[in-house]
Symmetry: C2
């Protein structure tokens, strides 16, 4: 049994002082208020570990490299594809190990990896058909973060279009073959397997039910939904439905489903998502970076949708920046403040349902022992009320991160990987040497 | 003479390696490419010092303290007023010393302080009539940052309304008396004096010419312009002009003028600002925080307006975050990427014209020797192209800051003030004990 003593901790009932947390087998075994200082002392404010509901780990190699010239989401995608074409399982393992280490340092204790780069060049299966997924599993294990691999069904280059040369690496040829491959993946203590429909562009409608049926009921199913207006237009032209309408029509909208982005929605889309108690994963820093626009986060929550956040393209990896951006971009769109309460924002930032660990996301008995301690006395956080931490702290203020009861970050340093920044620099430089 | 050797430096012609910068009397005396390593070594990427074109130092005490309940800009202002009412020159000196230290640590080498809190409670002048301005001057001097005090004319609580109890502290009673007081301020090497019209709400139209005439031609004149729609509506109802139209009508639009925020503008407003070669100071992190909306930064630049950024409410103090937000919020509004080039963004981030030091803002012979070195090998900046630094770095990645030739930050630590974070914590806690 491990004991942590928190100077302050954000519990489901609010922020308390002098909180003892006992950990048993990776879970929180007891929470005690007004406890005496003993065990590992966590000074500052301890929060539940943040959940990264949407990641494409390899996009990290695009950070600070896509600012040349004007463009759109679609021109950015071309550069992303040129990167994807150069990754193999070994390179992806090494890169992702650095990326996941950065995530833990930034306060994330779990990540849902939206994984579509599962085949070799030209679409040839690897000898070990999940070589790329295994690379991600090992990278996450080494970095000490929980990983839910959302193995992604990606069959078409657009509605009615075959995959192009790069996209062939994303395709299993059919949903059935996709499901057969995914069934080979084995879960472990910190690794789970869910599924994803890349988008209504990339999975033909007749294949949608197969994907839905292949994902176990207690595992997440994600989809990129209405990130760009062009997707809506193409979907409506081809099927006469919005992308959300397609999911509703095929019975895929339920609590297990998480709609990623959910940016350009109709009022009816929002109602469908809410009635089905689906989730929406906003990725505000990426949505800024890609010029997606500002989605209706508040309206979705009001209609009953579960909200979460994700770092997506990993242009920014900062659980605090991501979470507060949900509120700040709402303010830009609505010209009002206080669109979400601090508790609502924390709930979104720590929503591990979308990330595949629904039992986590709070400092409460029975939950996984995932904790993030942030310093309240840095130049950024000095003088704030503790409940204002989501508006003031950055990844640089994270001191300790505990995942499943184990300290992975201590004093702002990753305990398992020496200098993740050097790993990232080396692997990314190598990928762009061509 | 001091010599700096930069591993990389962002010069007006682009990023170069192995650059020697010699400093003479606080200015850059020579810049040499391909130089041998000698003098003080600055590893990473050295940029011109950033300019903070708009600050209200005391708002820093509101960080992480205004997230309770719903509201608007106007409800936020009530809380800000309750804070303003409690500041005296001693307290303001101590607080601002910490705030300005935070700014230097975050990459700013100059700040324009929009200063309206110049009188005592009830509007009584201090025995030393510029006691509050002097407090700011001393705070900036101790923190090692250049300060341009934009002493602000604030006479009315709204169009045709007297100042309320708190606002009385902002008022000199008339523009003439304001000008007499401001004339007493004495500049020094790192301290300059400009002026500001708080807004068209706070200065009656017949007083506008007096303010314009009182500010020397070579010193900046700022105004809060069209931050909120309500201001536009009130101005048009009272005067039949937009706020920009008012300035145009009174001949106040010129190169010396900087319009702060410039959020809700008409096409004609943008044309007027451009034709007059005025400046616009965007404060994106504050504009997010206050729900102001997204202003037309790209259109303004296209029409000939000089762009800059400011930390304004100091809810966030991070020159990198502020600068990239100019681009990122443009992307949200336009749904396009690459709205500004990297050089345009750097020019905006380092525009010292609005901040009162037009000779600064580039690593070039004759400019003030203001340098900011950012580490390119942190977990955030690892793997980027150096020219992508504005998209990847944060204040936490700043290693060295040189102001007027003097190292003020070394290895990320403020050289002149021990633990600015402790200063901030102490002073802010004290202000909220009531």
């Amino acid at each position: 049994m491990t004991t942590y003593w928190c100077e302050r901790a954000w519990l489901p009932g609010g922020i308390a002082e002098a909180v003892r947390i006992e950990v048993l087998d990776g879970r929180i075994g007891s929470v005690t208020l007004g406890a005496e200082r003993a065990g590992t002392v966590l000074n500052g404010l301890t929060l539940p570990g943040f959940a990264n509901g949407h990641s494409h780990a390899f996009h990290r190699a695009l950070r600070g490299r896509t600012h040349h010239g004007r463009g759109t989401f679609w021109t950015w995608r071309e550069r992303m594809y040129s990167l994807a074409a150069r990754l193999d399982p070994d390179a992806y393992y090494r890169l992702a190990r650095g990326v996941y280490a950065e995530m833990v340092l930034a306060g994330y204790t779990g990540v849902a990896e939206f994984h579509y780069l599962h085949h070799g060049p030209g679409g040839a299966p690897y000898a070990s058909p999940n070589a790329m997924g295994d690379a991600l599993r090992k990278a996450a294990r080494d970095a000490g973060i929980r990983l839910t691999l959302l193995d992604t069904c990606y069959l078409a280059g657009g509605i009615g279009q075959p995959p192009d040369e790069v996209q062939q690496r994303f395709s299993d040829g059919s949903a059935e073959r996709w499901a057969e491959r995914v069934a080979l993946l084995k879960e472990d203590e910190l690794f789970r397997v869910g599924g994803a429909i890349h988008s209504v562009r990339a999975v033909p409608e007749h294949e949608l039910p197969e994907v839905g049926n292949a994902v176990p009921r207690d595992r997440p199913l994600h989809i990129h939904l209405s990130e760009q207006r062009a997707e809506n237009e193409q979907c409506e032209a081809a099927y006469g439905w919005t992308p959300t309408g397609m999911l509703w029509d095929y019975g895929l909208l339920d609590e297990r489903l998480t709609a990623v982005h959910a940016t350009h929605l109709t009022t009816q889309d929002i109602k469908w998502l809410g009635e089905s108690r689906a989730g929406a994963c906003f990725c505000p820093t990426t949505e800024r970076d890609l010029g997606d626009g500002i989605g209706p986060a508040r309206s979705l929550l009001d209609e009953g949708v579960r909200l979460g956040v994700g770092s997506d393209s990993n242009a920014v990896v900062d659980a605090f920046e991501e979470t507060r951006a949900l509120e700040l971009d709402e303010r830009l769109a609505s010209e009002e403040r206080g669109r979400f309460t601090a508790d609502e924002l924390l709930a979104a930032g720590t929503d591990h349902v979308a990330a595949g660990w629904p039992e986590n996301g709070a400092i409460a008995v029975g939950a996984g022992a995932d904790l993030v301690t942030v310093a309240l006395g840095t130049v950024r956080t000095a003088g704030i009320e503790p409940s204002g931490v989501l508006f003031a702290a950055t990844a640089a203020d994270v001191r300790t991160v505990v995942v499943a009861g184990r300290e992975v970050v201590r004093d702002g340093v990753h305990v398992l990987i020496e200098r993740p920044e050097t790993v990232l620099a080396k692997e990314i430089e190598a990928l762009w040497q061509f």
